[in-house]
């Protein structure tokens, strides 16, 4: 992906998820309140994952390292800015998971788990401030949806790349011939 494509993905994901500057401010404002609980959220996330037979083999031997990585990522969720660098970083994280051969549904499944846990946490933090609760729940939903879209995009392009490789192998076409064919039919 070049910078122009990352920029397009950034705008596209923003349109869907509704990430705005206000939401970025809301998330940054939550950082100090959420930080003391991040390790709990992470622990509980991995406890559920370890109970999923398909997920468990990816986790043993590296659980502590993954928890640390996960905590760092969660800090970035409550820091921003959600611009090109964040998109690039999350696209790369998606790529790392593709290379580790994690099934794509793990991404959406994980986001659902994390969303639930963060909602529960926000519910306790803002139990007497319903407006703040709604505002922070919306911001969390937006940024997690945004992140998921970006991560899944790496899965999509890597799946397409794999299929193209297969197609080229079967047909005997070279990559250059395929590129020439594609560019001859560019609108």
């Amino acid at each position: 992906m070049d910078d122009r494509e990352y920029e397009q993905l950034l705008q596209y994901a923003k349109q869907f998820s509704g990430v705005t500057e206000d939401m970025e401010n809301t998330l940054q404002g939550l950082y100090e309140r959420v930080k003391p609980h991040m390790a709990e959220v992470t622990d509980s996330f991995y406890t559920v994952l370890l109970d999923i037979p398909k997920a468990e083999p990816f986790l043993i031997d590296r659980l502590d390292a993954l928890k640390e990585t996960h905590n760092r990522w969660m800090e970035s969720v409550f820091s921003g800015p959600f611009e090109l660098d964040y998109v690039k970083a999350m696209y790369r994280v998606g790529d790392v998971h593709v290379k580790a051969e994690l099934p794509v549904e793990f991404m959406a499944g994980s986001m659902a788990l994390i969303t639930t846990r963060l909602h529960q946490l926000l519910g306790t933090i803002f139990k007497d401030e319903p407006e703040k609760l709604i505002e922070s729940v919306s911001a969390v939903n937006s940024i997690l949806g945004f992140t998921l879209m970006v991560m899944q995009q790496s899965y999509e392009s890597s799946r397409l790349a794999e299929e193209l490789e297969k197609f080229l192998k079967i047909t005997g076409m070279s990559r250059t011939l395929f590129d020439n064919l594609a560019s001859a039919y560019k609108e």
């Binding site: 079967i170 047909t171 076409m173 070279s174 011939l177 020439n180 064919l181 560019s183």
Partner: protein, 120 residues
């Protein structure tokens, strides 16, 4: 220089029979090296499509145990497209009328392909 020689071979080929309407020499990567095509045809598309068809033809011939590929023939209601290798690096693609006498067209194409392979 080489382009001129290829153009002259194509010109001879098109002139050899009134059945042949257009022809092109294409690299195996699908780029046009020389062509005598009607204005309504896009050179890039003819080039890439012909090379792709020939590549698929190569695969089909060997998968279906037909030996090495000699040519790919496409018959449409408006005429024929015939493609063949011209040496290792190039493809000749010819368009002929629907009424064409194929035996003669094949011979002309074969002769042109040999001449092209000597130039490339």
């Amino acid at each position: 220089m080489r382009e001129d020689m290829l153009a002259s071979i194509l010109s001879d080929l098109n002139g050899s029979s009134a059945d042949i309407e257009a022809s092109a020499v294409i690299s195996t990567d699908g780029l046009i090296m020389a062509s005598l095509l009607p204005a309504n045809l896009d050179e890039d598309r003819v080039g890439a499509m012909s090379a792709a068809m020939l590549s698929l033809g190569d695969r089909t011939a060997s998968e279906l145990t037909r030996g090495s590929l000699e040519m790919v023939l496409i018959k449409g209601s408006q005429g024929y497209v015939v493609m063949t290798h011209a040496g290792e690096e190039a493809v000749v693609s010819v368009q002929a009328k629907s009424t064409a006498k194929l035996g003669l067209v094949f011979l002309d194409i074969k002769r042109a392909a040999e001449a092209i392979s000597k130039v490339i």
